[in-house]
């Protein structure tokens, strides 16, 4: 134990236990600096921080690095279907094979770029429609009496708790050529022949707006509910008409809620895969569908990874803005 002069207390404690001889041996072979440090310096507090931190590091951050790595490797027919980046080239030389071919491929093939632009457009229009429907609802809920407020909020959240897939399924029944909407319109004599609504952009907008509406209403409500209503009264006392008051007072104040809600819809909608594959067009895919097809049908994992990295590059700024708003919101309440 002589070589362990830095932690005499610790080594004394360890070597007095039943496994003392083992520890003594281990300490002599290699002073376990890391574990000693952990044992002597880590308090409960650090342990509490470490648990969620390490989990997220391993299962959330590290995976992105792996995706990044695989996006540079070459596809091959094997399991796993990609070539390693580091290879022993003999004579103790490690060859690093960085392959930019996947990215070059994404840039040359039109399919990726058009589906990319298309996804952004669909997500942006859907987020805007969500705002158009969600803002008046959030406003009305925030200004209702407390009892009604909780009832309305419950009604907003309730569909969210039922299965997302089944809610999209419900729209298939409504939108089909022989579906409920067409049947009703034909029975009323509004139209003579069924309108094609399935497999159109319209159906995708409906599906996304319907599924993501709670994500728009809830942050907007959280913002609108906190407003100081005396400001509105003051504006009215000073002679502003309701519309002017809304545009000059309420709307600017609710801007953080609007941005949070729009991002909460826009970012996941860009990568949406289920809704467009059930309701959307067959001739124009969204980027999430392209990624899944690359992965599941073509089994080209490197290209799928490159698509994922491309998507992330596009989304990194909106995600950081969202994160900024979110943490400001949570800090401000203290």
């Amino acid at each position: 134990m002589s070589n362990n002069r830095h932690y005499p207390a610790l080594s004394a404690r360890l070597s007095s236990g039943r496994l003392g001889p083992l520890w003594a041996l281990l300490f002599r072979i290699a002073p376990p600096r890391w574990s000693e440090y952990v044992l002597t310096h880590w308090t409960g507090k650090k342990l509490v921080i470490a648990m969620p931190w390490l989990w997220l590091l391993l299962f959330f951050l590290v995976p992105f690095l792996i995706v990044f790595k695989i996006s540079f490797s070459e596809a091959r027919i094997a399991m796993p279907p990609y070539a390693p980046l580091l290879e022993w080239a003999g004579n103790q030389v490690v060859a690093i094979k960085l392959n930019f071919g996947n990215y070059a491929f994404l840039l040359t093939d039109d399919l990726y770029f058009t589906s990319y632009i298309y996804s952004v457009r669909v997500a942006a229009i859907s987020a805007f429609l969500c705002l158009l429907i969600g803002y008046p609802m959030a406003y009305a809920i925030a200004r209702a009496t407390p009892t009604w407020r909780s009832v309305f909020l419950l009604l907003v959240i309730l569909p969210f708790w039922t299965s997302f897939l089944l809610r999209v399924y419900a729209w298939i029944g409504l939108l089909k050529s022989n579906g409920v909407i067409n049947n009703v319109l034909m029975a009323l004599g509004v139209i003579d022949a069924p309108i094609t609504m399935m497999q159109t952009d319209f159906a995708v907008y409906i599906g996304i707006v319907y599924s993501y509406l709670p994500f728009m209403i809830l942050p907007l409500y959280a913002n609108l509910e906190k407003h100081d209503l005396t400001l509105v009264e003051a504006a009215a006392d000073l002679g502003a008409r309701p519309l002017t008051t809304f545009l000059r007072v309420t709307l600017p104040l609710s801007l953080p809620g609007i941005v949070a809600g729009v991002l909460l819809v826009f970012i996941p909608a860009v990568g949406e895969y289920v809704i467009p594959s059930l309701l959307g067009r067959a001739d124009q895919l969204m980027i999430g569908r392209v990624l899944a097809d690359e992965f599941f049908s073509n089994r080209d994992w490197p290209v799928a990874s490159a698509v994922a990295i491309f998507m992330l590059i596009l989304l990194v700024v909106p995600i950081m803005v969202f994160q900024r708003i979110q943490s400001r919101e949570l800090e401000a309440r203290r």
Binding site: V48, F59, P159, Y169, L174, N183, G271, G288, I319, E331
Partner: protein, 280 residues
């Protein structure tokens, strides 16, 4: 006056938009016709799709698997998410704080295909490197679900904690309680409602997830959404309506019951703090 009309109009159209699809699904689950959307007035209502549903082993097995995964996910996610929320709300600045807060908000908006792909590639790399986890199945699905579900729990717990000031905890510390005791006697009871709703939310998120499961599931571990999705690709079928109706019913009962329970808890707490304030 006019603003009231506008408000009412917004709510009525909004809720109609939210609920008409669900209602139509419920109504057509009692329809006799195989064509999901054509009402067969002579032989309806009927329960035959419910019979079909309950004799469909594949769906029942998948539902049971989904329940098990969701319960495990929710339980682990609640522990990790509560810790993360506590750390972010109460521990002040520490090294790695920004990273932690980033890693707990990014999963809220990350597109599912990216999360699913990156998780699968992680599991495969880990299996190559250290031989764990062996293959893919319930374990990998649960790990993946915990990772995104705990982010939601963190946000709920953190915002609940941000709503309380820490004077109660400080008082307990001053009176000599150790940190662990403060947490279990003061903090935990305060955030219990948040933890309960966090558990339910994590359960639903896991129960509902299709895309991430599709990436990280292995053969023989098909969750309910995966089975429904493959059925839907073959065309609509009325027993899915029956399933949806049952789910809507359970959820409605659960949510209404849960909120009544919450309200009672809140009232009780208000009464207690009133008693405490009056010095009794």
């Amino acid at each position: 006056m006019r603003s009231r009309v506008v408000s009412a109009l917004a709510l009525v159209t909004g809720f109609a938009f939210l609920y008409i699809p669900i209602l139509s699904m419920v109504v057509f689950s009692f329809n006799n016709s195989r064509l999901v959307t054509v009402w067969d007035a002579q032989n309806s209502p009927t329960l035959k799709w419910y019979h079909a549903l309950f004799s469909n082993e594949q769906i029942l097995d998948a539902a049971w698997l989904s329940i098990k995964i969701a319960a495990m996910t929710a339980s682990i996610a609640v522990v990790l998410g509560t810790l993360a929320g506590l750390v972010l709300a109460r521990f002040g600045p520490f090294r790695g704080r920004t990273l932690l807060s980033g890693m707990t908000t990014a999963p809220l908006v990350m597109p599912d295909v990216i999360t699913g792909l990156s998780m699968l590639l992680l599991f495969i790399s880990m299996e190559q490197l250290i031989g764990w986890p062996k293959g893919r199945g319930v374990l990998t699905i649960t790990i993946a679900h915990v990772t995104f579900a705990m982010a939601y729990v963190t946000v709920i717990v953190q915002s609940q904690l941000a709503g309380f000031d820490d004077s109660l905890e400080e008082a307990a510390m001053d009176l000599g309680a150790r940190p662990a005791k403060v947490f279990f006697r003061i903090t935990l009871p305060l955030i219990l409602p948040a933890i309960a709703s966090g558990w339910l939310l994590a359960f639903t998120l896991s129960w509902d997830d299709l895309v991430i499961s599709q990436f990280v599931a292995g053969p023989g571990s098909s969750t309910l959404p995966m089975v429904i999705f493959s059925k839907m690709r073959l065309g609509v079928s009325p027993d899915v309506n029956a399933l949806a109706t049952i789910l809507v019913f359970i959820v409605a009962m659960g949510v209404v019951g849960g909120s009544l329970w919450m309200r009672r808890l809140e009232k009780q707490r208000a009464r207690e703090s009133q008693l405490a304030a009056s010095g009794l």
